[in-house]
Structures are given as structure tokens and as C-alpha cells.
């Protein structure tokens, strides 16, 4: 193929092959890092779609953003799932996402000379490939950056995080699938030529550059002497992943791990009182303090008929106690013993049909999650409660006094707090 003369000589700096000196870069290293990264990304993608499904975006106003198209491929957890299932899938989404970061950065490091390939586009196929790589790299960094900032309640942007993180994921998944398919022969070739694990046997003295790859452009043209072996590099990456795991996992798993979750956004020990566990939105921020303390509060339950119940009347109904987790989409969860009235009993009280779904509304005036809609299966699950007490004490204001929902295996924000009304819907 003829290359136009003016593009034949690359400009100085990173566009020249001899600029890149690391003797470790090459198709085997990139393949190996990709092989380690891919399963992590698959876990994060699948658990992300499970989380989307757990919000039941097709019901009521549950979707946190408008969905115009029929592009709903959310994965739905089965009804009567173990109560901890969403805590596990979302804990995986956040924790595995964090653990994948050093692998992603190492993968990008291993291919960065390709960013400065000269000429920028050899032909149309190459141009298309580079455009898809912008979607891949931009998509991956966008997803990781927005996710990492979201779990730290830091929002330096003006878009709807949930919508952009969701559709950004589809850009990333599409570009990644194409990338994996197109690079598969290169990966297979690298493993055939170098062995799957054989390069890891070399210590620093035996670390040599991979054989030159004329078209790949990853192997350094003028390599410097190695300062770390390939297994040393992978040990560094794996060790960094391990450090991230240790400092964050406790907020999802709890127990003694919470004490070493030193950088987890919600890793704090909050005391030993009945209500000393994490809150997603405080009573102060939700502007509900005066109304939550109002002794004239009543719950309105609508169905075949409408009843109004104050807290004393609710406490006279049969009380049930279940240990259920609050599992936040941000990855933290906390399991507590909740006591209150079964939603099924409230449905029967107003003569709601067995297949009725339920809309729950808070008396909170603003906020994206002041309401939620649930399927009949969720309503009729014997573990689904309108909770009045937790760990033997009345709910605190922050935890939803005078009454809140708690259901198994739903995102924490759907366990609506400061409940004003429950409406059982025929359809």
C-alpha cells in the first residue's frame, strides 16, 4: 500500500517507535492482561443489568430516567429470591468494578503506543477500528470514572448519572464485544507462540522483549533494560487489586471486615444503638423532620376500600420480625432485624386482589425516590414489611420513622421511608 510521502516520517516524540522503551510490552502481555480483565468486566456488566432489573423499571415511575425505546434488556432476579441476593449482586458490581481498575490501567498502559500510531489512519478499515477504540477506551473510562465518583457521592457533572451510566455501558459493551471478537486471533496466536503462562516464569534477569511484531506495534523497537519482570508487573497489578478489595469490601460484607474497610465510602462503625447503621438519605436532607414527628400522622392504605391507620393502630396489627438487608446501589449493605406489619396483611385489610401491585408514596416532598411500585409477588412475599421498629427499638427519623418499607432483594432506595400512603393497584 502506498503511504503519502508527507505522512511517511512521523513527527518527533511519541509518534516515533523508538520513543517507547519498555521491554515488557508486546502481544502476549496485552493478551494476558485482557484475559484477566475480561471476566471482571463481564461480572460488572451482568450485575449492572441485574441492578437495572431490580428497580423494575417497567413498573410505575420506577425507572430513574425516561426510556424512549424498547431497549430494556434488564436482567430480573426471580421472585422469592434470597433476601441477600441484591446485596451480593450489587456488592459484586461495585467491588469487582473497583478491583478491575488496576487491570484496566495496566491494559491501557500496555497498548498506549498504539494511540500514537503513524500515520493516524492507514486506510478506511484502520480508521473504523480507531473510531471503535475511541468508543472502547472512552466508554470504559467513562463507566469507571462515573461509577467511582458516584459511590463517593461526588457529582461534578450536570447529567443524570443513572441514565448516562446505563447508556454509557451499552456503548462500552458494544465496543468491547467487537474488540474481543476482532482480537481473538491475535490473543490465540500470542498464547500459541509464547505459551499461556510461560512468560511468567522469567525472573528479572531472564526478562527479554517479545519477538518483534511488525504490524502490532506493541514491542519496543529500541527496548531499555528491564527494571521489573512480567510476573513482577502482574504481581503489582494483582496486589493493587487486592489492596482495593481489602479497603472497600467491608462495607458490603460487614462483620470484622468493616474494621479494615479504611477507604470504603460507607465503612464507618457508627455505634452500637439499635438505629446505628448507614442511611442513604437523612431526614434533614429530605425535609421531613417536622412531619415525621407530627403525632397526627396517619398511613392511608387504598385498595378495594380505603383505611387510615395511625402508628398505634399499626402496632396493634400482627407484628412480624425478619432480618433483611438494606442494599444500596452504591455497593454498601447492612442487615438488620426489622419488625412491622406484613404488606400482604395490609393488602387483605383493604380487600386488594391477590394480583394487585402496590404503589408506595412517602410524605417527603422532593427527591427521586420518594415513591416506588412493587409487583404482586413482592407484596405477597411474607418477608415484605411495613417496618415500625428495628432491632427492638422504634425507627429513628433517619431510618424512616414513623414507618418505612423493607422488602427482600430490592435496591435500598425502594425501601421507601416516611411512608404516607400505600395504594394497591388492580392493574
Amino acid at each position: 500500500m502506498e503511504t503519502p510521502h508527507r505522512l511517511a516520517k512521523p513527527p518527533p516524540g511519541p509518534f516515533r517507535p523508538e520513543f517507547w522503551r519498555s521491554p515488557l510490552r508486546g502481544p502476549w502481555l496485552t493478551s494476558f492482561l485482557g484475559t484477566l480483565l475480561l471476566p471482571l468486566i463481564v461480572i460488572v456488566a451482568v450485575t449492572g443489568l441485574i441492578s437495572d432489573g431490580a428497580y423494575d423499571p417497567g413498573l410505575g415511575l420506577n425507572s430513574p430516567f425516561d426510556r424512549y425505546g424498547a431497549f430494556d434488556v434488564a436482567i430480573h432476579l426471580p421472585a422469592s429470591s434470597p433476601a441477600w441476593l441484591y446485596a451480593v449482586t450489587q456488592g459484586l458490581h461495585v467491588t469487582v468494578g473497583l478491583v478491575a481498575i488496576p487491570f484496566l490501567l495496566a491494559k491501557l498502559w500496555s497498548v498506549i503506543p498504539r494511540l500514537f500510531a503513524w500515520p493516524p489512519a492507514r486506510d478506511l478499515t484502520h480508521l473504523i477500528e480507531r473510531a471503535s477504540l475511541l468508543l472502547l477506551v472512552g466508554g470504559s473510562l467513562f463507566e469507571f470514572a462515573t461509577g467511582v465518583l458516584n459511590i463517593q457521592v461526588f457529582y461534578p457533572w450536570h447529567f443524570n448519572f443513572v441514565r448516562e451510566h446505563y447508556y454509557g455501558a451499552w456503548v462500552f459493551i458494544a465496543a468491547l464485544t467487537a474488540h474481543v471478537l476482532l482480537k481473538l486471533p491475535t490473543v490465540v496466536h500470542a498464547y500459541r507462540e509464547r505459551g499461556f503462562l510461560r512468560p511468567l516464569r522469567d525472573d528479572l534477569h531472564h526478562t527479554a522483549p517479545e519477538p518483534a511484531d511488525s504490524r502490532g506495534g506493541l514491542v519496543a523497537a529500541a527496548p531499555a533494560p528491564p527494571t521489573i519482570s512480567r510476573r513482577g508487573l502482574l504481581g503489582l497489578v494483582g496486589g493493587a487489586a487486592g489492596v482495593l478489595l481489602v479497603v472497600n469490601l467491608g462495607e458490603s460484607v460487614g462483620g470484622p471486615l468493616r474494621r479494615i474497610a479504611l477507604l470504603a465510602p460507607r465503612g464507618h462503625a457508627l455505634g452500637s444503638g439499635a438505629n446505628d447503621f448507614e442511611v442513604n438519605k437523612s431526614a434533614l436532607a429530605s425535609g421531613v423532620i417536622a412531619r415525621a414527628r407530627d403525632p397526627r400522622w396517619t398511613l392511608t392504605v387504598r385498595g378495594g376500600r380505603t383505611v387510615r391507620l395511625d402508628r398505634a393502630a399499626l402496632l396493634r396489627l400482627p407484628q412480624h420480625t425478619h432480618e433483611l438487608p438494606i442494599s444500596c446501589v452504591e455497593g454498601w449493605s447492612t442487615s438488620q432485624r426489622w419488625t412491622g406489619v406484613r404488606l400482604a396483611d395490609l393488602a387483605d385489610l383493604v380487600a386488594a386482589p391477590a394480583h394487585a401491585s402496590m404503589h408506595a408514596a412517602s410524605f417527603q416532598r422532593g427527591g427521586a425516590f420518594r415513591q416506588a411500585t412493587f409487583t404482586a409477588a413482592q407484596v405477597r412475599d411474607p418477608r415484605s414489611l411495613l417496618a415500625l421498629r428495628v432491632n427492638g427499638a422504634d425507627l429513628s427519623l433517619d431510618h424512616g420513622y414513623p414507618a418505612r418499607l423493607i422488602l427482600p432483594a430490592v435496591p435500598g432506595v425502594h425501601c421507601t421511608k416516611w411512608i404516607g400512603s400505600l395504594t394497591f393497584l388492580r392493574e
Binding site: 477500528e129 458494544a174 482495593l244
Partner: protein, 148 residues
């Protein structure tokens, strides 16, 4: 000889066409959502920040570090990686947790959780100290072993 990425360019083009169709659909939803400029800044900005700022920054630090420590070896045990590994791990923690470590989201965090996010800077410094101390201990063991 390196194999062609995919034998038939037609297959290559087909795979790309499907990927661009799905990505294009998703991007169209973002455009309909109305915050496309801010999204584009973040999408392209994330790649630019990584490729043209973060990567050159840590590579340069690493290269300078390796250069100044080229002769830094006791009993033939080079010191480079015993500083490089804890430094990169500590840097990664800062990269991931900078909003909490630098207290950038204190107010939002307080509104969400009802308590203030205390101690992240202290914890990060403590973890960094432990990483360097552990690395130093391993280095000392290796030096002593090399001596005997």
C-alpha cells in the same frame, strides 16, 4: 508472521457495523436525554485525561525514579521496585478515592448519610505508610539474605 486480525475484512466490517449500531442507539438516547455536551465532555475528557495527563504523569515519575535510583542497590539487590510498588499502589488509592480523601463531597455526603466523612485522608496516609514500611521490611530481608 502475525495473523490478520480477522481473515475476511467483510466479517470485520460486519462486527464493527453491529457495534456502531448498538453504540449509536445508546448515544442517541443520551442525546434525547438532553445533556449531550456535558456527556461528550466527560466521555472524551476521560480518555484525554488518562492518555495525555495521567499516563504521561505516572510514566515520567516512574522514569525519573528509575533514573535516579539506577545505582541504588545494596548487596546487589536493586531498590527500584521496593519503592515503585508501594508508590503506585498509594497513587492508585488516591486516584480512586480522591473525593473522600480531599473532602470534595463533604456536604453531599453529610446530606446523604447524616454524618461527616471523617478520617479518609488520615487512613490513606496510614495505608501509604504501611505499604512503604512493608516494602522496606521485604527489602531488608532480601538484602540480609543476599549477604549471607
Amino acid at each position: 508472521m502475525k495473523p490478520r486480525a480477522v481473515g475476511v475484512p467483510v466479517l470485520q466490517i460486519a462486527i464493527h457495523a453491529v457495534a456502531f449500531a448498538i453504540a449509536g442507539y445508546a448515544l442517541a438516547q443520551i442525546v434525547r436525554g438532553g445533556s449531550v455536551v456535558n456527556f461528550a465532555i466527560w466521555f472524551v475528557g476521560a480518555a484525554v485525561l488518562h492518555d495525555l495527563l495521567l499516563f504521561p504523569f505516572y510514566s515520567l515519575l516512574d522514569r525519573l525514579g528509575v533514573r535516579t535510583r539506577r545505582d541504588g542497590a545494596v548487596n546487589q539487590v536493586p531498590v527500584t521496585n521496593y519503592l515503585r510498588v508501594p508508590a503506585l499502589m498509594s497513587g492508585l488509592l488516591l486516584l480512586v478515592y480522591f473525593p473522600l480523601i480531599l473532602g470534595l463531597s463533604d456536604h453531599q455526603y453529610y446530606l446523604a448519610s447524616g454524618h461527616h466523612p471523617h478520617g479518609y485522608a488520615r487512613n490513606w496516609i496510614a495505608i501509604t505508610a504501611v505499604l512503604f514500611a512493608g516494602s522496606g521490611l521485604l527489602y531488608a530481608i532480601r538484602v540480609l539474605r543476599a549477604k549471607s
